[in-house]
């Protein structure tokens, strides 16, 4: 009995000792409210302090509740004085029955008919293409984190690698954003498909579905991936570069189930990166960049673009469909796009006008023995899907280590990792380098467009630089911080990818 008591007493003492305080770390600038890290400067439900919710249509700006841009506070409610029939042009200036509130030539008044170019939503005359309270249709309002662009509520989605979030900011006012959403560990690449944004999380090897409705919680699919690097969509499927395994993973977006996983290259050292597709008469191909090994610099590893038959993507996983979604056909050697002693290192890719453009980093060994320094001008490998021939296009010495690619109109925009933003005109028979524009970020990473608004991420911070693709000189002078640093003191920020999402 005594012995049993001794054991029980000892274990009880040990249990009592185990009551230790826990310390939750939050990203820089965020505070712990309950069990969640929140940005009190922008969180409308916790504005300036935990549980301090903004009311009356106000949103949280710089830690204080304020009306969204373009609205004014009348009493305790935010209204659009330009369209609100109860506050037409001024607070409490109500329009009489039968009249509408419209704005023309900068003047707002109660009128009998809406001015030209505006539509009546009740007694409010609105521009459906840009009105955030009636975006595209009467009563369809945009929420915080969205701007009304061309009649769609659009958000700029930014993958914040170090804090494991995807953040949505307003394209027209990127300093205003919605509450961040969790995205596995190390979200590194984004794409959109239907009503969802899809994020590939590199470290957790997971796939995250984030509905375009910003208030809806994301769904994470744990795929046991090894170093996801890129994500793309085609034929209604989601495809991920699983670099750690040297494969491309094909996912059914309806269920999150893996339909196929296709080895590409000799081993994982080939380092699968960007994926692009080419379709046309008799052509249904996928082009997968095999970056290579930036440690050993073995020229026989990577430095290729694998070519796969993508015809099976449409029906694989369905009854009677093919066993494989993708089948390997061969590869295209792009090592000619490098300057000795550098290697080409093909990365992200895009298809424009029937041609596949692949960014070639063209790097040589730099600090600490890794291939990090430009060996010459960044280049594009231009692949003709018809015969898989390849040519190389120089982005000039001003554009070193090119990375992300995006198209606006007939222009291809390339993020130059060594600094700058290259604009390439693709309207002619051959690409023409228009300019390498300065970008107010240290190391441009990836590019996206929301309408006529361009955005490029910084690989060395959480900043996103908004630019004007039509008139670059009119671009803002400074970048905007979007992704916070992970918990101090070792925190860092990385805006890893960017994409534009529009709510139907």
């Amino acid at each position: 009995m005594n012995r049993s008591l001794l054991v029980v007493a000892a274990l009880t003492a040990l249990t009592a000792l185990s009551g230790c305080q826990k310390e939750t770390t939050c990203p820089a600038g965020e505070a712990l409210c309950g069990n969640a890290c929140l940005d009190l400067a922008t969180d409308s439900a916790n504005c300036g302090a935990c549980a301090n919710a903004c009311a009356g249509g106000t949103i949280c700006k710089a830690g204080a509740c304020a009306c969204p841009t373009g609205q004014s506070l009348c009493g305790s409610t935010c209204v659009d004085l330009a369209t609100d029939p109860a506050h037409c042009g001024a607070c409490a200036n109500a329009c009489a029955s039968g009249s509408v509130c419209g704005t023309s030539g900068g003047a707002t008044a109660c009128v009998l008919d809406c001015p030209a170019g505006t539509s009546a939503c009740g007694a409010a005359c609105v521009t459906l293409a840009s009105d955030r309270l009636n975006c595209g249709a009467c009563g369809k309002g945009c929420v915080t984190g969205e701007s009304c662009l061309a009649g769609s509520c659009s958000s700029l989605q930014v993958a914040c690698f170090s804090v494991n979030e995807v953040r949505a900011v307003e394209p027209l006012e990127p300093t205003t954003g919605a509450a961040p959403r969790a995205a596995g560990v190390g979200p590194i690449a984004l794409t959109t498909l239907g009503a969802d944004i899809w994020a590939a999380a590199s470290i957790s090897g997971s796939l995250i579905r984030l509905p375009v409705e910003l208030a809806v919680a994301p769904t994470e699919y744990l795929l046991a991936g090894n170093d996801f690097e890129y994500i793309a969509t085609h034929a209604g499927r989601v495809l991920i570069s699983n670099a750690g395994a040297g494969t491309v993973v094909v996912v059914d977006p309806a269920t999150g189930a893996v339909l196929d996983e296709v080895p590409v290259g000799k081993s994982a050292a080939e380092n699968v990166k960007g994926i692009a597709f080419a379709t046309g008469p008799g052509i249904e191909l996928a082009f997968v960049s095999l970056y290579g090994d930036s440690v050993s610099g073995d020229p026989t590893i990577g430095q290729k673009v694998a070519v796969l038959n993508a015809a099976g993507l449409y029906t694989c996983g369905q009854p009677g469909g093919p066993a494989n979604c993708l089948t390997a056909l061969g590869s295209i050697d792009v090592s000619g796009g490098a300057d000795a002693p550098g290697l080409a290192f093909p990365g992200r890719s895009i298809t424009v006008g029937g041609k596949v453009y692949v960014a070639l980093a063209n790097l040589k060994k730099g600090a600490y023995g890794y291939f990090t320094d430009p060996a010459g001008p960044g280049r594009l490998a231009v692949i003709d899907p018809i015969d898989t021939s390849v040519s190389f296009f120089s982005l000039s010495a001003a554009c070193g280590n090119p990375g992300g690619l995006a198209v606006h109109g007939t222009s291809l925009w390339v993020a130059c990792g060594a600094g700058g933003l290259a604009e390439v005109d693709l309207s002619g028979a051959a690409p023409v380098l228009v300019a390498v524009h300065p970008a107010a970020v240290t190391s441009p990473g990836n590019v996206a467009f929301c309408g006529d608004h361009g955005f490029v991420t910084d690989q060395r911070s959480g900043d996103v630089y908004p630019f004007d693709p039509v008139n670059f000189a009119a671009s803002p002078a400074a970048a905007i911080p979007v992704c916070p640093s992970s918990a101090p003191p070792y925190g860092y920020a990385w805006a890893a990818d960017v994409a534009c999402a529009s709510r139907p």
Binding site: V7, A10, S18, A36, E261, V295, G369, Y490
Partner: protein, 642 residues
């Protein structure tokens, strides 16, 4: 007459055979074909600590290396990075592998440069026994013993004793080991040598499409896994000026291929290492119960690694130290004191110049026998200065004999580990040092109940440890890593051991086992991390072994169960539990020379999907044949209590 002093610190263990033979020898019972030794739970360096002493003779002929022997103890977790001569480390009670002090004859193998000690670098042919001490042992073994201590004790120098062993088997594995001792200079000289080799080409099943569930695995063969190692050991113990001079020289060197990840093989990578340890200690008794001792030691390390970069990375290290010891047998017990100093210098690629660090230690402890020797109380305090870092380690241990073979023991202690030179100053590739690091600390308490009687031995204990300021490598920009004192963790658990005496008449069956329940909790981290289990720490682990020894034969079967654990701090990526079976048989062929033949089958069920924590394949079924001979009845063995 030789002095008999339980010394504080590493020296007590360094030459324990020469100085405290009776205190450390388990009582042997010689049977027809067997020497049966009591599995002990008491280590010489810390008699009241939570310890398991693993006698290598219990597993003679089974080709077990240091890690496989350590794995038979509770409270430990072996981190096996590929098996068959590849990197193998140990953590104790949830600690990092860096937080375990690994000693070879009491001399630390952990270098100032840092990194966990590779257990595979210790030739198995040398091993006499391994003492596994669980919990912060800094007060008795010096700074660094945050999670515990593994002390590998090499063969005893006993005149006219010899043994030899040859092993061969699967995957081109072979080894030779021999040792012999002769009387010399009024004392004893032991010489031992060993060599091991394996081609490491074992078959395994590979999943080329890890995200696709249910698809068939692909048969592959591990390449570039060859490993070779050789070692030599000399120990001389001679009387000098009314005292004893013990000297030891240990040398080992090895080369192994670094096969890389299964999904990303590295056929051109390799590693070469070498180590030389030299030590001498002198001890003599004095008047009034005083004993005096002193020692000098030196160590040389070399390491060349070709990993990716065709230019190998080189590391060279050298250390020299001295210590003075004082013991006093007073009426109630024995008081011990030790003063030590050591300098260590390291050269490595990535360091602009050689780094040198001084360490000094001052330790005082007592071992009190009270209440008619039923109560043993052992307070100990040690001050360590390691480079610019200094701190106190303390421990209070006690044991109480309740009678009828029952006893309880308990201890509480605190220790610290100074940041290594690598963590402070070493820039390699994407790994960046952090000169602002501070020591990590551990505060722990444990208690256990011991039953030791004619039926066998059983222990049951619980422990709790609070780790603070753990040094963890954190990403600071994309894939760049830098160490920070960012870890806080709580570890608690239950450890149980059982060993029966020979039973069932002529079958002379025995059973032994070790069970570990480990609760770990992250106390600092993101919202999705705090409160979760510490990655790679299985909650449960079981080792069980059954033997029978009818006549000239010996049969045994073992099971290793390692419970599910997580590979990530969010605890969403589980590593499945594994169960591994080993079995073996032995027969004595010629009694006068104790010639015996052993057959050992590892991974009996030929599970080719076994992987380490990083997903690398572990060896499939392996058959080894061993022929042994010796001057004493060394085989077959079984375990139990008389």
């Amino acid at each position: 007459m030789r002095s008999k002093i339980p010394f504080l610190g590493v020296l007590a263990l360094s030459f324990s055979v020469a100085t405290t033979p009776r205190a450390e020898e388990p009582p042997p019972v010689v049977m027809d074909e067997q020497v049966v030794r009591v599995p002990r739970t008491e280590a010489a360096g810390d008699p009241t600590g939570a310890a398991t002493v693993i006698e290598a003779s219990r597993f003679a002929g089974e080709a077990k290396d240091v890690a496989q022997l350590v794995a038979t103890a509770p409270g430990v977790a072996i981190n096996d990075y590929g098996g068959l001569g590849q990197l193998t480390t140990v953590s104790i009670r949830g600690s990092t592998a860096d937080g375990v002090l690994v000693l070879l004859d009491g001399l630390p193998l952990n270098s100032a440069f840092g990194g966990a000690v590779d257990l595979s670098s210790i030739p198995r042919g040398w091993i006499e026994r391994i003492e596994v001490l669980r919990g912060p042992e800094g007060a008795l073994y010096g700074a660094g013993a945050l999670g515990g201590v593994v002390n590998v004790v090499t063969r005893r120098a006993a005149a006219d004793q010899w043994s030899a062993e040859a092993t061969g088997g699967s995957f081109g594995s072979a080894s030779l080991a021999a040792d012999g001792a002769v009387a010399a200079l009024g004392g004893t000289l032991l010489l031992a040598g060993s060599g091991d080799t394996t081609d490491g080409r074992f078959p395994y099943l590979y999943d080329p499409t890890p995200t696709l569930p249910g698809d068939p695995l692909v048969a592959r063969e591990r390449e570039n896994g060859a490993a070779r190692r050789a070692g030599a050991l000399a120990k001389l113990s001679v009387p000098v000026l009314d005292g004893w001079l013990d000297t030891v020289v240990q040398a080992s060197a090895g080369r192994r291929g670094l096969p890389g990840f299964a999904r990303n093989p590295t056929p051109d990578d390799w590693q070469r290492d070498g180590r030389l340890l030299v030590a001498a200690r002198y001890a003599r008794g004095g008047p009034g119960g005083l004993t005096l001792g002193g020692r000098v030691s030196g160590r040389f390390d070399r390491l060349d690694v070709r990993a990716g970069d065709p230019v190998p990375y080189r590391q060279r290290g050298a250390a020299g130290g001295a210590a003075a010891e004082l013991g006093w047998s007073h009426g109630a017990g024995q008081l011990s004191a030790q003063l030590s100093a050591e300098a260590e210098t390291v050269e490595a690629g990535g360091l602009p110049s050689a780094l040198t660090r001084w360490s000094t230690g001052l330790a005082v402890g007592d071992d009190l026998l009270l209440l008619g020797a039923r109560l043993r109380v052992a307070p100990a305090l040690r001050f360590d200065a390691v480079g610019p870092f200094s701190g106190l380690s303390g421990k209070l241990g006690g044991s109480w004999r309740l009678g009828d073979g029952w006893s309880v023991r308990a201890s509480a202690g605190r220790s610290f580990r100074a940041p290594s030179l690598a963590e402070l100053y070493f820039q390699q590739g994407l790994v960046t040092p952090n000169p602002d690091l501070v020591p990590e600390t551990g505060l722990a308490a444990d208690a256990s109940l011991v039953a030791d009687g004619p039926l066998g031995l059983a222990t049951l204990g619980g422990h709790v440890t609070r780790y603070r300021d753990l040094i963890l490598y954190q990403p600071t920009w994309r894939w760049r890593l830098q160490p920070f004192n960012s870890g806080q963790a709580l570890v608690a658990g239950i450890e149980a051991e059982l060993a029966t005496a020979p039973m069932l008449g002529l079958a002379r069956a025995t059973f032994s086992g070790a069970y570990t329940f480990l609760f770990t909790e992250l106390l600092k981290g993101r919202t999705d991390e705090v409160g979760n289990q510490v990655p790679y720490r299985p909650r449960q682990r079981l080792y069980a072994r059954a033997t029978a020894a009818p006549g000239r034969f010996e049969l045994h079967v073992e099971a290793h169960y390692v419970g599910r654990r997580f590979s990530d701090t969010r605890n969403v990526e589980p590593i499945p539990a594994t169960l591994l079976w080993n079995a073996g048989a032995a027969v004595t062929l010629y009694r006068p020379l104790a010639v015996s033949l052993h057959a050992e089958v590892k991974n009996l069920l030929d599970d080719r999907t076994l992987t380490d924590g990083l997903g690398n394949p572990l060896p499939s079924r392996m058959v080894l044949l061993t022929l042994r001979a010796g001057s004493s009845p060394t085989t077959p063995h079984t375990e139990g209590t008389p």
